[in-house]
């Protein structure tokens, strides 16, 4: 972003990579896949790089409003300093925080989830994909809570997946009554409370019941949870868990 600023150019969009997208080995692959899509579509995009910091979502959900607001104020100062107008992110938690929670603290931006952004690129014809390896495969999409129930976006990821000429199969609980992967509300960073089952195992069972070849995710944390779930059932040889961006990048050989 600093480079754009120095050259006096304005990027089309700021890609908010997020902590998972920056540091988590699995999520980094999603970041790179999305960047391949952005490059293929010739989108002039910027990242904040080392100036990006956690949005504060997990701190807020863990009850620490002070830390959340400090993170938010810091990030908003950086974003407003660069006069950022549009943001895209591959993490529904960053998406929700940036879109819904920053305006009250002085940071108002047009924020898109990467599945919405990819969908727009496909509709505008800026990228083209055909099914490729996924033609005829069974794909089931797991709705991230913070994208679906939280923000009412159920269709964009599905519209993108339909471009793969695959059979999109729905789980028993999907869209509005999609079952959580178990990671939200800062659960990702703690041990589960005592119970008789892990939430991600329950959700993976829903997914496996559709006999999929691919479980598609739209959130780095769901991705981790479902990947662990598939391993739990020793199905990692047959079923892959991939982000929508990875599927598009692979199918389009981007």
């Amino acid at each position: 972003m600093a480079d754009f600023m120095a050259s006096g150019e304005t990027p089309e969009v700021l890609f908010w990579v997020g902590c998972a997208g920056s540091f988590d080995d699995r999520a980094r692959k999603i970041t790179k896949a999305f960047v391949r899509i952005l490059n293929a579509a010739k989108v002039k995009f910027a990242v904040l790089g080392t100036e990006e910091s956690c949005t504060g979502d997990p701190a807020r959900r863990a009850g620490n409003e002070f830390l959340f607001q400090m993170q938010a104020q810091t990030n908003i100062a950086v974003l407003n300093g660069y006069e950022v107008k549009r943001i895209v992110t591959a993490c529904p938690h960053c998406f929700n925080t940036l879109k819904n929670e920053y305006p009250a603290l002085g940071g108002s931006y047009e924020v898109m989830h990467h599945t919405q952004f990819i969908n727009a690129l496909l509709k505008e014809g800026r990228i083209k994909v055909e099914g490729g390896d996924f033609k005829g495969k069974r794909i089931t999409f797991h709705d991230p809570c913070y994208l679906g129930r939280g923000n009412g976006e159920y269709e964009a990821p599905r519209e993108v997946l339909l471009k793969l000429d695959a059979a999109l199969v729905e789980m028993k609980n999907s869209r509005k009554n999609g079952l959580c992967c178990g990671a939200g509300g800062a659960q990702m960073f703690k041990e589960a409370e005592p119970g008789n089952k892990e939430v991600n195992i329950e959700r993976t069972e829903d997914a496996l019941a559709t006999a999929p070849n691919v479980i598609a995710a739209g959130c780095p944390f769901c991705n981790t949870m479902l990947t662990d779930g598939v391993k739990h059932f020793n199905k990692e040889g047959e079923i892959v868990v991939k982000d929508v961006a990875e599927l598009i990048a692979e199918a389009g050989e981007l």
Binding site: F23, G49, F66, N96, A104, F189, A192, E193, V199, I201
Partner: protein, 443 residues
């Protein structure tokens, strides 16, 4: 005016007075909550109420319950036209005062009869689902004790009321056919007509006794039921309307900003901004309440969260959708709402008894809701999404968590490390901010 009319008027007056008194008490209790502005977007609010409460728009996810509940709901609303006639007859000693409507009256009474039958059958099926089929959400331990009795009492009362209504009509029909004095020919009786043969052996005097007896039972039952509402989960039949009107219209996963924290953080980060002046103390029911971050007790919640608690009819759809509950964790969103109401009632009773609020050493957090329940929530909002009357349990859970963390520093150890990481290096993991762009270098 006969003695019957006077007794009726006295009963009606007493019922209206007692009901108004209890509604006033509930209103006072809801007023113990913090302020929250829900006066915006009124067109959208009316539309939400029309869709969700009036139109039963969210019931359909469980079709069997939706159809049965629809019968009871429509039956309740429509049969109240008949109750209006019963009230007028009761006050003036008339009999079927609306019968001048002629053909229309026949259609009305006929449709009330069919609806009464539908309500009766639906309530019987509901009783079977709760007590014989034992659907999971109705046998969970949240409902042990009074809540389960409450649910069954409501259903049995409705069965009895509808039974009385139909028996009354059957006796009336026979008396009309026999040309008995006072019993003008009016109405069609498609359902009670089938019951009439069972009563055919009774003398005229006996039939009048049955008809009057059922008439009194029915109307006293309705007045008693009305007064039962404020003590019962069944209050939802009234509160569903304001509760959906005041629904949260913001995205479900958006957490409310804590203004007070905002002032402090701004001043911390920019020395030119003065720290916010302390809020004036909240005086509630004659007592000064301590200023708190988050919620420890019901008085720290907002009035809307308290209205939610009174509106909950304990159907348990929230709990059956809750990922934590489904995997055996202690959390049940329904219990969160029931606890909130129980605690609020306890606080209200204490205020009534002492004339003002005195700390009783108990609180919603700790005495009712445990930390384990709070930390099991994934904030997925499945509970809020599925609630047929737009209740939001997640907001209460989050406010209680905020109190735990910000006032008592009680946070699960793993989350404490996550928080330290965010504080030190701007990420929930121990990763250096300077490495944020490393992903671009790796293959």
């Amino acid at each position: 005016m006969g003695i019957g009319n006077i007794v009726f008027l006295l009963l009606l007056g007493a019922a209206a007075w007692w009901f108004a008194r209890n509604v006033g008490r509930v209103k006072r209790n809801i007023g113990l909550g913090r302020d929250e502005d829900r006066s915006d977007r009124s067109a959208e609010r009316w539309a939400t109420m029309a869709r969700v409460a009036l139109g039963q728009g969210k019931m359909g996810t469980r079709p069997v319950a939706a159809v049965l509940h629809f019968f009871v709901y429509v039956g309740f609303v429509i049969i109240n036209i008949e109750v209006l006639e019963i009230l007028i007859d009761g006050i003036f000693g008339t009999h079927r005062v609306f019968s001048f409507l002629g053909g229309l009256y026949n259609v009305l009474i006929g449709s009330f009869e069919w609806l009464a039958l539908a309500v009766l059958v639906s309530c019987l099926v509901f009783l079977v689902r709760r007590n014989l089929i034992k659907l999971k959400r109705f046998v969970m331990k949240d409902l042990d004790g009074w809540p389960r009795t409450d649910a069954n009492l409501i259903l049995v009362t409705e069965v009895l009321l509808m039974g009385a209504f139909l028996t009354m009509n059957a006796a009336d029909l026979l008396l009309q056919q026999r040309g008995a004095e006072h019993y003008t020919q009016a109405g069609t009786f498609p359902v009670s007509g089938m019951l009439a043969p069972l009563l055919a052996g009774i003398s005229d005097g006996g039939l009048v006794a049955v008809e009057r007896g059922m008439w009194w039972f029915h109307i006293i039952g309705i007045l008693a039921f009305l007064n039962y509402l404020p003590y019962s989960k069944h209050f939802h039949i009234l509160l569903a309307f304001p509760n959906t009107y005041f629904s949260n219209l913001r995205p479900k996963t958006e957490l409310k900003n804590m203004e007070r924290v905002m002032g402090e953080v701004k001043s911390m980060m920019d020395p030119s901004v003065p720290p916010p002046a302390p809020n004036p103390p909240r005086v509630l029911a004659g007592a000064e309440l301590p200023e708190r971050f988050g919620a420890k007790d019901v008085t720290d919640l907002t009035w809307k969260q308290l209205l939610d608690a009174y509106t909950c009819t304990e159907c348990g759809r929230c709990t059956s959708e809750c990922p934590a509950n489904r995997t055996g964790k202690l959390l049940s969103p329904r219990k969160i709402m029931m606890d909130t109401r129980d605690r609020l009632e306890e606080v209200g009773r204490s205020i009534d008894a002492k004339g003002k609020w005195e700390d009783d050493g108990k609180a919603l957090l700790g005495s009712y809701i445990t930390e384990e329940e709070l930390w099991a929530c994934t904030t997925c909002n499945a509970c809020a999404e599925v609630c047929p009357v737009n209740i939001d349990p997640v907001g209460i859970i989050m406010d209680l968590r905020r109190y735990l963390v910000m006032e008592e520093s009680k946070v699960p150890p793993a989350l404490a490390s996550m928080i330290t990481n965010v504080e030190n290096n701007g990420a929930p993991w121990q990763m250096a901010q300077s490495d944020r762009l490393k992903w671009a270098e790796t293959e």
